[in-house]
């Protein structure tokens, strides 16, 4: 077990290093130079030389990379010259909003998807199963903004029940002050994530139903409800941990789209605006952060899985 965790940690470190190298290369792919991209087309050669010197951009590339790594290790994601603030403080003020959006919709979708998947598996090929499968099939064949768009068209434009955009505030308290604006973004995120999770839960539970322990429990006279909640659900929950881990890139992508669609004040929206405005330090800073979250998420999922399910071992 310990050696598995150590090896898995080692892999994660290598992948994180690789990601930083990739982003470093992307930074240098900018046409012209970083200085030119930041200072604009009218900067004089002298200004550019000064800027390069001040920021260590005249050093050899390997040295620049080490410097970049050093900055990242100290938690410094970069400096946005366009907004005149560090990327850290920009992200720091918005991250709580993201955690709220992603956290609430993640919890909601797990609450809906786990029982739904179980019911689908137990009542396989029933009308309930077909309906739920059909709905989730359409939901994940749909670009997630389209779902948000349909919700806006119905609840905000036709019924005038809910606001079409998120609260216009930057702080968490500001966002919470206007909960009506949160409903549509959260519902969109929840539905998309739910489609993902229930499908996985269904197959995991179908797999579980075919196992010997279910037959044994049944032979011992355990009732349907007991089998469902005591045996099947507990065993089917373990893969859900992996699921949350591997879904992270998808959920972060949904987050970006939902934030853009509803104008939700989160890191995704900042990233999008930065990409549109050519605010490269923010773009690359958020990219590194997103990759870090993905890698760590997968790492924790793998370790949690190994701890919870002793059958899993690293060869």
């Amino acid at each position: 077990m310990t050696s598995y965790i150590i090896r898995r940690l080692g892999q994660a470190v290598i992948v994180i290093l690789g990601v930083t190298l990739l982003v470093f290369i992307l930074r240098h792919l900018l046409p012209g130079s970083i200085a030119r991209a930041i200072l604009g087309v009218h900067a004089s050669p002298q200004t550019i030389a000064d800027f390069n010197k001040a920021n260590g951009l005249d050093n050899p590339l390997p040295l620049q990379y080490v410097d970049y790594l050093n900055q990242l290790i100290h938690g410094n994601l970069g400096y946005s010259f366009k907004q005149n603030m560090t990327v850290d403080s920009l992200i720091g003020s918005e991250l709580p909003n993201d955690i709220l959006l992603v956290g609430v919709s993640m919890v909601l979708s797990l609450i809906i998807a786990i029982p739904l998947g179980l019911v689908q598996a137990v009542k396989r090929n029933s009308i309930t199963d077909y309906t739920a499968t059909g709905v989730s099939f359409i939901l994940y064949s749909m670009p997630s903004y389209l779902l948000g768009l349909l919700l806006i068209a119905f609840f905000a434009v036709d019924l005038r029940l809910l606001p079409a955009s998120a609260p216009d505030a930057s702080s968490l308290s500001g966002v919470l002050a206007n909960p009506a604006g949160l409903v549509l973004p959260v519902v969109t995120m929840t539905l998309v994530t739910c489609a993902l999770f229930s499908r996985y839960m269904r197959s995991s539970a179908i797999d579980g139903l075919a196992q010997d322990y279910i037959r044994t429990a049944r032979a011992k006279g355990v009732g349907t409800r007991g089998i469902l909640f005591k045996h099947l659900m507990r065993n089917s929950l373990i893969p859900v941990i992996t699921l949350i881990g591997i879904s992270l890139p998808g959920i972060l992508t949904f987050g970006l789209i939902v934030e853009q669609l509803f104008n939700f004040p989160g890191v995704g929206l900042s990233y999008y605006n930065a990409a549109v405005n050519g605010d490269y330090p923010v773009v690359y800073g958020v990219t590194v952060l997103v990759a870090l979250v993905t890698v760590l998420g997968n790492l924790f999922a793998d370790i949690a899985y190994a701890v919870l399910d002793p059958r899993v071992r690293y060869d």
Partner: protein, 322 residues
């Protein structure tokens, strides 16, 4: 029973995953046939075809995709529209008369725009799937066959690129480069081969220790022969199924990117771009600028997913009949 369920689950795994991410080793493909005689193989092919034809949803998917191709590529030959120059005297016309689906805010005919936008979607979807699958198969089979340190290094590279979600990575690139159709295809393919690579590597790992592969080696067959004649042909089922899903994923990713505005520059049309433009008129009730494009994206992606599901079940035939 267990085998069948496992395959089914393996197939369903894809549904769970966001576009571009495939849990390599967890998805099992159809079982592998040992090399057989020509006649038997031909017969087996018929069994697969019949099994596929029995799946009504998959056949519906094929029919829809064929119709979509006719609509996008043959349609413009009969329905001549101007999709290049702006017609400001003819904007936001509701459906009817000379414009069965109305016009958009720049005066483009929506029906004609759906056709040319569909061309981009289908071209990108197919080309990306083709290139990504090709690259992924070569990469995966080499990684799995050679094994050892080479395998570890090659797989870490996959992990690294997978760590950054496709949409983010693409936007990073698009923020600096203005995409053309070919650049779009190449970049999307570069970001999509990771799934098939992992998948094929997993298959290769289990195939290379099979008796018939050892037999080839014992008889003096070279690695090249083992790879091209035995390993790749035996993973073909998995590859084809995965490629179909890749088409769906690429169309979806393109729709998302176009919606975010990181796709072909105007006047080129994409379905996602039409949606992005249509959103501005949500409150004006110009439904024809939103829903037709949205519907075509969903239907096309659903169709390719149906085909993929059907192919996966059809390749499973021997398991079902056993």
């Amino acid at each position: 029973m267990t085998e069948r369920t496992r395959d089914e689950i393996a197939g369903e795994d894809r549904a769970v995953l966001p576009s571009g991410v495939v849990p390599g080793q967890t998805r099992l493909g159809p079982a592998h046939a040992a090399p057989r005689g020509g006649a038997v193989r031909a017969q087996a092919r018929w069994v697969h075809l019949r099994a596929f034809m029995e799946n009504k949803l998959a056949v519906a998917g094929v029919v829809f995709v064929v119709l979509m191709f006719l609509f996008c590529f043959v349609g413009p030959l009969f329905w001549h529209t101007n999709q290049v120059t702006v017609a400001m005297f003819n904007t936001n016309k509701p459906p009817g008369g000379k414009h069965p689906l109305g016009t958009d805010d720049l005066g483009y005919d929506v029906l004609g725009r759906l056709m040319s936008g569909g061309q981009a979607s289908l071209e990108v979807g197919l080309a990306v799937a083709l290139i990504a699958t090709g690259v992924g198969v070569i990469y995966g089979v080499i990684s799995g066959y050679v094994g050892g340190i080479t395998d570890a290094v090659m797989m870490r590279v996959v992990d690294i690129v997978l760590a950054i979600p496709v949409v983010y990575l693409f936007i990073d690139l698009a923020a600096t480069f203005r995409p053309t159709l070919w650049l779009l295809i190449v970049v999307l393919a570069l970001l999509s081969w990771l799934g098939p690579a992992r998948l094929v590597r997993g298959e290769t790992l289990s195939l290379r220790v099979r008796e018939y592969v050892q037999a080839v080696r014992a008889m003096g067959g070279r690695s090249g022969r083992i790879i091209t004649r035995h390993l790749v042909p035996n993973t073909i089922g998995t590859i084809v199924v995965n490629a179909t899903f890749q088409v769906a994923d690429a169309i979806l990713t393109l729709a998302v990117l176009s919606y975010l505005g990181f796709s072909l520059p105007p006047p080129a049309a994409t379905w996602g771009g039409m949606l992005e433009n249509g959103v501005n008129f949500l409150y004006d009730g110009y439904w024809w600028e939103i829903y037709p494009a949205g519907a075509l994206i969903v239907l096309t992606v659903v169709a390719f997913n149906f085909i993929g599901d059907g192919l996966r079940d059809a390749m499973d035939v021997r398991l079902q009949r056993r």
